[in-house]
Symmetry: C2
Subunit: 338 residues, 2 copies
Amino acid sequence: MKAITLKQIAEELNISVTTVSKALKDYPDVSKKTKKQVKELAKKLNYIPNASAVNLRTQQTKTIGVIVPTTVHHFFATVIKGIIKAAKKKDYMVILMQSEEDVEQEIKSVDLLISKGVDGIMISLSNKTQNFDHLEKIKNHDIPLVLFDKISKITDCSKVVINDQKAAYEAVEYLIKKGYKRIAHFRGDLNPQVSIDRFLGYKKALLNNNIEFDPSLVYICNNNDDFNDGHASAKKLIDMHGKNVDALFAITDMVAIGALKYFNDNGIKIPKDIAIIGFSNWFMSSVITPTLTTIDQPGYKMGKTVFKLLYKEIKAKNVDIPYETIEMKTSLVIREST
Amino acid sequence: MKAITLKQIAEELNISVTTVSKALKDYPDVSKKTKKQVKELAKKLNYIPNASAVNLRTQQTKTIGVIVPTTVHHFFATVIKGIIKAAKKKDYMVILMQSEEDVEQEIKSVDLLISKGVDGIMISLSNKTQNFDHLEKIKNHDIPLVLFDKISKITDCSKVVINDQKAAYEAVEYLIKKGYKRIAHFRGDLNPQVSIDRFLGYKKALLNNNIEFDPSLVYICNNNDDFNDGHASAKKLIDMHGKNVDALFAITDMVAIGALKYFNDNGIKIPKDIAIIGFSNWFMSSVITPTLTTIDQPGYKMGKTVFKLLYKEIKAKNVDIPYETIEMKTSLVIREST
């Protein structure tokens, strides 16, 4: 028996081959009526799709993809651990790709995951990502997508985040309540949302507490090497402001620890001369001397939640379910550095 | 024109379909003469292999796979960074899988990489891997394989390692030369070669320096949580030996730092009461108080070397090239903890 082709179905219904293909793959831009007609005829004619063209949502691969900027950051390593743990329970394998903060690499990773065939994709964006066509591409392939931590606000999909602005606000307000007035901020790169949000939280806490915002107390850490960024910025901070700074809110624990190392090595007492708050509650923050006050960012739990959302979409298959944004709770962990 | 099948080639040459298939894929168990006959006839008849059956070494995917136990260990994260850096230069994408120290997961990861199609595979084995059939499977699929760090000695393939026994020997001998006599060892699990080798190096250094080996000074850390393993073992060590122990050689920096935290929190002075040496030179070892003496294990450089070996095999395609074992240099980094 000669195999039935898409062309035959198209001719029979007097529609284009593309429409037939899209209808079989449940693309949203084909009407329900057409989809029904195409599917019924395909069934009647015993149409067998070409293996390589099989839609991913109908033929599950039991494989999902994750793209993160790096695994050298302990936070991402713990998120991945959470994703793998949750995926394993549902018998899913996890393919991991690293963008290394390179947009080109992130786009290529998306292409690769699509071409290799995965049931869903989870991404934490690189710091440089400003165009989101590759995310739309995932959606156009009807592959469930969940963004986490470093997300794109304008992309319509499920997301797992923390409230960076609120967390930063609380950290800085805590410093102010403790009596610190000249509070520096070591921020991340200009672009990523988490960096913007933490900076905004810092600024808002100052303004709401009648402390003048001094831009010369803000340093940008964007060399993809948090420890050394923190260390170098601490030197610049002290060179410029000397004793006219009494606290520091750093965008990550690693940046904070880089600064802490500089202060420790240069006889600047923590918290007497300068207090420090980090961000993420990396376990090393409870081991270093002095131990670091920080914001707990639940990486492992976030990973499990990311998978949960993705799995829900995979299971829903071709039924449209509403996208969700889940905000993970953070908390301020007070230690010796403040 | 009707497509030529393997069967037709087999009939023409009076050999089995399997032999034809293997010959086209350059399997080592088919004679050169047969390979030549098959390939010539296939070319003459214009045989087009089925896409899904195309041999990976002839049709390159420009994708390679890495399987590591975890990325929470900074060492593996840096090895991966090195692999990705080197791969990118040659325009290769890297797919990462984590076994999470689970043999089943490691085997499934191998199967997945084979089925998704990669040009080569790099593995650092889980601590529990004792059967190596999945490694043979990779070789049977003619996919280049390079093992690194946690390897199988009996698997015939290229490897990148460090001399764990020698490195451990040097660390312990250094302690002995400094006058320490009651040297404890926090070792890894019983199975993995690195754990065995570091233990043997420890033991040999004692014996060669006329210090009696005391098994009660050796503790096993095998809960996949180095920091807490080190912390708990330190407690047991002090509970059992009190002041009758003056130094500790720990299998990883993380185990060492767990122990250091216990000593710091319990008024046990480092190095006055007890000296500590770690293993890996994780950058945190130079940040904690006191800074940690350790063995530098060049993860990033190892990653680059692993890719170099794999790339050589990929490029050699169907020509057999001799397997290589590259030993990366380690060195003792002396800091405040000894």
